[in-house]
Symmetry: C2
Subunit: 478 residues, 2 copies
C-alpha cells in the first residue's frame, strides 16, 4: 500500500472535517465507540495523552497548595436540589440510579454531573474557624451528562476530568484563586498543548449554573470553530448559604465562606486533534506526545541494521519517550505513513548507509523537513528539534487564530465574516440576553467570552444598535 | 489537654477494635461519612496514601508492559448477563441506572461492579490476529457494589481500585501473567505497606464469579482477622467464548483468547490502619506515609527557634515528605500527640538548647525511641531511621502473624485456637464445599486460601475426618 492509498483512508480535512475527526480518533487508536451509547473506550494511545496532561496539571495544582481528595459518584436527589440555578442547569441531563440489586431505592441518586452539591455538604461539616481556611481540594474522576448528540472526547456522556473546589475567608481571596487557576489552565493549554488561548469572562447566559461568574479559556480549532478548553467559576456565597458552609471569622462572628470551582477534561484530547491535525492525520505537540520519536529501521534485513536501531533506541530512551518499530511484516513506507498518521513528532530513519556514515535522518511531522544528524549528537539534536516543533506548532495554531479573527460593526459584516472565515468575530454588545440569543439563532455563533483585554470596535451593539461598551468574541462552537 | 486526655478520645484497641478503627479513620482525617449511604469522602490525608500506592503500583505495572486505558462506567444489562456465573455473582449487588433527565431508559445500565463484560466486548472487536496479542491493559477507576453492611475503606459501596485485564495467545502465558501480577501485589504489600502476605489459591466457593481460578494475597490484621488484600484471576476461555474474543492463531485457525484480571483497591488503606495501628493511633509505614517526618519546634516563642525549624525543614524537604508544624495556637505537647495519632513515622523536636548544641531529637513512632542527631548529618540519619522503621514495622506485623498462626487437626482444636488466637488456622481439608460451609457456619472462619507452600498437618479433613491432601488456611475476615 503506497502513501496515497494509505492517506485515502482518512477523509480529507477540508471536505468533511467532522468525518476527518472521527477517522483520526479511530485510526490513530485514541478511542472507540462502545455498547454504552454516547460513551467511548479510551485506548492506550489516547489514555497516555491524558496521563501526560494529568501529570503536568497535577504538579501545577500542587504547587499552588491544592490537595487531592475523592467524593462519592452518587449524589442524593435532595442534595442536587438545594441550589436552584444549579439543579435547573443540570437536572435535564443527569442519569438516575433508582434500583440496587432487586430493590427499588427510597431516594434516587444521580451520577455526578459535577460535584458542587456533595462537596459543599461535606465542607459545611468540616469547616469551623477561619483558621481552617482555605480548603484547596481537587478530584480526578469521571462525570456523566446525558447529552443528546455526542462525539468522542468532545461531547461524551461520560468523561474524565478534574474538578477543583475551594473555599476561602474572603471574596477577594476566592476571586484571586479563580484567576490563579485560570492562569494554570492557560499555562497547560499554551505550553503543554501548544494552543494559544483567549481569556475572558462568560456572559450571564453562558456562565456555569449557580456561579456568580465564570472565567473561561477558549481555543480555536483548525476549521475555525471555537472550543471551551477550561473554566474557572466564582460562586461567592451562592452555594455556601443554601449548604450552610460557615465559619467563625477573625471578629468571632459567623460568616459564609467564599467558593470557587474549576475544571478541565478529556475534551482537551479532542482539542489537540482538531487544533493541530492535518491531512496526514494526527499531529501531537512533543510535550504531550506518548511517543516523542519513533525509530524506523530501513533495509532491516541487512546485517547490523536492527542492532544499530536497538542501540539508538537505548541511547535515546533514557531522555525521551521513544518507540522502535521493528515489526517485520510491514515495509518502511507503510511505517512512515502509519506513524505520521498517529502524530509522532519525529521519525528517525536508520539504514545501512546511515550507519556507515555514523548518522541517521530525522523527519519532522510538522514541516516534513528531513535533517541529517550525526549519531554522536543525536540526544542534543532531538531535544532541540522537539523544542522547535513545540514552538512551531504553537505558532501555526496562532496564525490560524489570527487569520480567522475579524471584527464586525453590524450584522452584515458579522454574517459575511462568519461565512468567509468561520473563526472568532470581535463585536460590541449591549449586554442584553435578547441580542445574544438572536445572534445565536440567526448565525449559529455564541458569545465565547468578554475578553479581559478589551478593545473598542464601535460605540453600538452589533445586533440592536443601542449604545454598547463591552467587546465580545463570538463564534460557532464544539 | 495532656497526653492521656488526648489519647482517651480514641477507643482502646483491645476493648473495641471496630470502634478504635472508626475513631482512627475520622480523627486522623483519612475519610468521613457522607449523605450517600455506604459511601465515604476520602480526605486529603487518606487520599495522599492512595496516591502513593497508585504511583508505586502504576510504575510496577508499566515495567511489565501494562498500559492504562478507560472503559465506560455504565454497562448495559444485556452485556452483564452474557457470562452466567458472573451475573449470578454480581447482579444482587449492582446499582441500576433506569432514568436519564426526564426519560425512562429502554435498556437499563448497571454501574460497573467490575469491568470484565464491557472490556471483553471491546477486546472481541479489537482482536484479529495472534500478532495483536497480548493485550495488557489496566484502568484506575471507581466501582460500585451495593453492600448491605459497610465500613470505611474496608467495605464501601463505592471504592477506588485498579483492574487489569489481559488476553493472551496461550493458556500458559495467561497463567504466567496471573502469577506475575500476584507477585507485583506481594511486592506492593510487603515492601511498600510493610505487611507480610500469605499467597495461595482461593477455593471453588471463594473464587471470583466467572474465573477458572483465583489467586489471592491475604494479610492479617492486629486483631487476628484476615483481609483479602489483592486477587489475580485466570479466566481461561470462560469469558472469551461467550464474548467471542477470538483470533487467528499461528496455524491460521480461529482460537479463543486466554484471559486474566487482577485488582487492588482503597481497602488497602483500611489494611494499613488495622495491621499497624496501636493505642496511640495510626502508624504509617514510611514508604507510603504522606508525611514522613514532622518538625515540631519547642519554645518557639524564643528567638531563632522558628527560623532554625524553617531552615531544617528546607534542608530535609528536598529528600523527604516533610511537614513543619508552626501553628502558634497549640502547645508542643498537643502537637506530639496529634502527629503520633496521625501516624507520622518520625517526629523531630527542635528547641533552643538543641539549636545551641547543633542537634535535634528524632522520636520514632514505632518504638517511641528518642535519638539525638547532629544537624550536620540529619538527612543521612533520617533516611536510615525511616528504613529501620519500615523494616521494624514489617517485622512487628510478621510477629503478629506468626503468633496468631496455629494448626488444628480436629474441630476441637480449631475452635479452641480460634477462641484463643483468632488468626490463621492451618488445617487439612477434603475439598468438599459442604465441609467448608459447615466450618464457616459453626466458627465464622472462612477458607483464606490453599497456600502455594503446602504442609502436611494430618491425613484427614479437619471437619469430616475423610482423607484429605490439601492444607488450607482458615480465618475470620474483614
Amino acid at each position: 500500500m503506497g502513501k496515497e492509498d494509505f492517506v485515502k483512508e482518512i477523509t480529507n480535512i477540508d471536505e468533511d472535517f467532522a468525518k476527518w475527526y472521527t477517522d483520526i480518533v479511530l485510526k490513530a487508536e485514541l478511542a472507540d465507540y462502545t455498547d454504552t451509547k454516547g460513551c467511548i473506550a479510551i485506548k492506550p494511545y489516547g489514555y497516555a495523552i491524558w496521563e501526560n496532561i494529568q501529570k503536568y496539571a497535577d504538579e501545577e495544582f500542587k504547587k499552588t497548595g491544592v490537595k487531592n481528595v475523592y467524593f462519592p459518584v452518587l449524589i442524593p436527589e435532595s442534595l442536587l436540589q438545594k441550589e436552584k440555578d444549579h439543579v435547573e442547569g443540570f437536572a435535564p441531563e443527569v442519569a438516575w440510579v433508582t434500583e440496587a440489586g432487586e430493590n427499588q431505592l427510597e431516594e434516587k441518586y444521580c451520577i455526578r454531573p459535577t460535584s458542587e452539591t456533595i462537596i459543599s455538604t461535606m465542607y459545611s461539616k468540616w469547616l469551623n474557624s477561619w483558621r481552617d481556611l482555605p480548603f484547596l481540594y481537587n478530584q480526578w474522576c469521571n462525570v456523566l451528562r446525558w447529552e443528546k448528540e455526542t462525539r468522542p472526547f468532545l461531547r461524551s456522556r461520560e468523561f474524565l476530568w478534574q474538578e477543583g473546589h475551594t473555599i476561602h475567608e474572603t471574596a477577594e481571596e476566592a476571586i484571586e484563586r479563580t484567576v490563579q487557576m485560570l492562569d494554570v489552565y492557560v499555562d497547560i493549554i499554551e505550553n503543554l498543548l501548544a494552543m494559544p488561548v483567549l481569556k475572558g469572562q462568560k456572559t450571564e447566559s453562558e456562565k456555569f449554573s449557580g456561579a456568580e461568574f465564570t472565567y473561561t479559556v477558549e481555543s480555536l480549532m483548525h476549521d475555525g470553530r471555537a472550543l471551551q478548553a477550561g473554566t474557572s467559576h466564582y460562586f461567592g456565597q451562592k452555594f455556601s448559604k443554601p449548604f450552610n458552609i460557615k465559619f467563625q471569622n477573625r471578629e468571632g462572628k459567623e460568616e459564609f465562606a467564599y467558593q470557587t470551582s474549576w475544571g478541565i477534561s478529556t475534551r482537551l484530547i479532542g482539542a489537540i486533534i482538531m487544533a493541530h491535525g492535518d491531512n496526514r492525520g494526527l499531529k501531537l505537540p512533543p510535550k504531550v506526545a506518548p511517543i516523542q520519536a519513533v525509530i524506523v529501521p530501513v533495509a532491516s534485513h541487512k546485517e547490523g541494521v536492527l542492532e544499530a536501531a536497538s542501540a539508538l533506541f537505548e541511547k535515546l530512551n533514557s531522555d525521551f519517550r521513544m518507540k522502535l518499530d521493528d515489526r517485520s511484516q510491514y515495509s518502511p513506507g507503510f511505517k512512515f505513513n502509519d506513524w505520521e498518521m498517529r502524530g509522532v513528532p519525529v521519525r528517525i530513519e536508520l539504514g545501512p548507509r546511515d550507519i556507515e556514515n555514523n548518522k541517521c535522518v530525522f523527519v519532522r511531522r510538522d514541516t516534513n523537513e528531513k535533517i541529517e544528524v550525526s549519531l554522536d549528537e543525536v540526544n542534543e539534536k532531538l531535544a532541540q528539534v522537539l523544542d522547535d516543533i513545540q514552538n512551531n506548532m504553537f505558532n501555526m495554531c496562532k496564525e490560524n487564530v489570527e487569520k480567522r479573527t475579524t471584527i464586525a460593526r453590524n450584522m452584515e459584516e458579522f454574517n459575511h465574516n462568519l461565512e468567509v472565515n468561520q473563526g472568532y468575530i470581535k463585536a460590541m454588545w449591549c449586554g442584553s440576553a435578547e441580542c445574544e440569543n438572536k445572534i445565536h439563532e440567526e448565525t449559529g455563533a455564541k458569545s465565547r467570552c468578554i475578553p479581559f483585554e478589551q478593545e473598542k470596535i464601535s460605540d453600538t451593539c452589533v445586533y440592536c444598535g443601542r449604545k454598547a461598551d463591552k467587546m465580545v468574541y463570538w463564534g460557532r462552537q464544539y
